[in-house]
């Protein structure tokens, strides 16, 4: 059995919820937000929605960094500095994503569109473009 699944049986008890408010609560919340972003990235086919999912995942990472700094390293501000750098990355990612969306929309409007047989489908659907599929 995987080590993560071992240990005393706890039934449906939620030990983090029952304990006093602390670091595990914040990390659990961040994990929930990250899971929502992960679901958005994996389940959506629209480029804009995938981009928004990535932003949500980055937000969860930022909350994690600040929580670790506040609870575990109150003498320093390393988490805060890295969070500010992450903000730069998030804004750059958003800018590039929107520009990519604009370029794809223009490409979809062009007469030599890559999928002219599917004119009614979403132009930002990643399935339309072989180079954007994974």
């Amino acid at each position: 059995m995987l080590p993560l699944l071992q240990g005393p049986a706890q039934g449906f008890a939620l030990p983090i919820i029952q304990s006093p408010l602390g670091l595990p609560h914040v990390l659990t919340l961040a994990a929930g937000v990250f899971a929502l972003g992960l679901f958005a990235v994996l389940a959506h086919r629209n480029l804009l929605r995938i981009l928004m999912g990535l932003e949500l995942m980055l937000l969860a990472a930022m909350i994690n960094l600040v929580a670790f700094t506040t609870y575990l390293h109150p003498e320093g501000l390393h988490g805060h500095a890295i969070t500010l750098l992450l903000v730069l990355a998030a804004l750059a990612q958003l800018g590039i994503g929107l520009a990519l969306g604009a370029a794809l929309l223009r490409r979809a409007q062009a007469p030599e569109s890559p999928a002219p047989e599917l004119p009614e489908t979403d132009p930002l659907n990643v399935e339309r473009y072989d180079d954007l599929k994974w």
Binding site: A40, H44, D122
Partner: protein, 173 residues
């Protein structure tokens, strides 16, 4: 009061995140994303990082709001912004991956001894108190994180250049 604030912010953050995933129209999803970022900034403020919360609010939430609120109408002029929901074929496996991630993370968090539950101002070091935090952050960014900061700014510059290059009108040869 602090517990109540935490749970209100947590519910707002999760609700806004869920709305971002499941709302049909991209513009509504963008509103939900901005709401999630505002709630995230509130959570950062709750963690006694007020300056960082303000920076997040102004740059990330404000920047994302500006980019999305101005960018989406411009995009819709270029072509239709189709409403979309999570793809039915992918939702099942994406849901399983997301739930597995959360369950495993929760299990790790529940079985780890973190050694501290005190997040009061008294527990903070001098560097994180009040105006000292801003000074210490500035010193960190101009000192040991200077290279990373320059890299981040370079990344933003590259993003602007690529955005402009991607949308250059094609010239006739």
């Amino acid at each position: 009061m602090e517990t109540l604030t935490f749970y209100v912010l947590a519910i707002l953050l999760l609700a806004a995140g869920a709305a971002m995933v499941w709302l049909k129209h991209p513009r509504h999803a963008a509103y939900a994303l901005v709401a999630a970022m505002v709630a995230g900034a509130g959570m950062v403020a709750w963690l006694h990082a007020e300056f960082l919360a303000l920076a997040l609010l102004l740059t990330l939430a404000g920047g994302a709001a500006l980019l999305l609120m101005m960018g989406l109408p411009l995009l819709s002029r270029l072509g239709p912004l189709a409403a979309s929901r999570p793809d039915e074929d992918r939702s099942f496996w994406a849901g399983i991956v997301a739930v597995l991630f959360f369950v495993i993370t929760y299990r790790v968090l529940a079985t780890t001894s973190w050694g501290t539950t005190d997040r009061s101002v008294r527990a903070l070091g001098d560097a994180q108190r009040g105006l000292n935090a801003i000074r210490a952050l500035g010193e960190a960014l101009s000192g040991e994180y200077a290279l990373a900061l320059i890299g981040g700014l370079f990344l933003v510059g590259v993003a602007i250049a690529v955005s402009v290059a991607l949308n250059q009108p094609e010239t006739e040869a």
